[in-house]
């Protein structure tokens, strides 16, 4: 099973990286960019074949390590 995890900053949390990206894109001449936000995208290959158990395990991974839940949200997608 493969888990695809998105980790994004909670709304309202300052995103210096996103700010710098938006700024750099504008400097390169791309117009009309209101905002950019940067998050992480993590793919994990799991031995677990059971969807429910895989979901539970990845939830736990997010809470314990992958996301900093004080400032970040996470979302999980499972794929074969």
């Amino acid at each position: 099973m493969k888990a695809k995890v998105h980790i994004t900053l909670k709304p309202g949390v300052l995103d210096p990286q996103g700010k710098a990206i938006a700024h750099a894109l504008a400097a390169l001449g791309f117009g009309g960019i209101a905002e950019a936000r940067q998050g992480k995208y993590i793919e994990i290959d799991l031995a677990e074949a059971d969807r429910a158990r895989a979901q539970a395990a990845v939830e736990a991974m997010c809470k314990q390590l992958l996301a900093n839940t004080v400032i970040e949200n996470y979302s999980i997608e499972l794929a074969e």
Partner: protein, 229 residues
Amino acid sequence: MKAAVIVFPGSNCDRDVKVALDAATGRPTSMIWHKETELPALDLIVLPGGFSYGDYLRAGAIAARSPVMRAVVAKAQSGTAVLAICNGFQVATEAGLLPGTLMRNRNQKFVCKDVHLKVETSQTAFTARYAAGQVIRLPIAHADGNYFADPETLAEIEAEGRVAFRYVTPDGAPDDDANPNGSAANIAGVFNREKTVLGLMPHPERLTEPALGGIDGRAMFDSLVAALS
């Protein structure tokens, strides 16, 4: 030798390298703001260490696309020497001046310490005052110094003798214990094909005075002055 240091927002070793260059050349080094689009006649361009644009997105990525870099690349292509130190090395790879890329250190941590380096060649403007095979000591200070290039590129760099420095033990062994960041083949610095551009993670400008703990960095600046004056 006329030298200039490019200053990006977030550069922070620009003054340090200027001090070292001023001492070596005996004349003031000019500082060039990243928004400049044209460069004066120069013998040496330095891309300094620091965190240009905070190293946000990827280390060196945003600086590599700043206006001045187009001029730097043009100068480099016409043979002007470029010394790219630490963040400057990252900028240079992002700008395509040097092969490969610098990834996050394998232990994920910033590391600041002295390392030992083997000088692979003394046949360049940057290293003439060192002896080939000599082991020197220089500081590193980076989080993204893990040199990566695909196998064909690595083979080519090696075959063309373009590895400038390798991380080694004090007695010269390029083993894994001596590798502070996971770099391929313990590579600490590489040249372009013509050996007119050098990128390296260690900071020669930080060891140019006994008071700072050593002078192993001084020979690089002295080499450049001798070759380019």
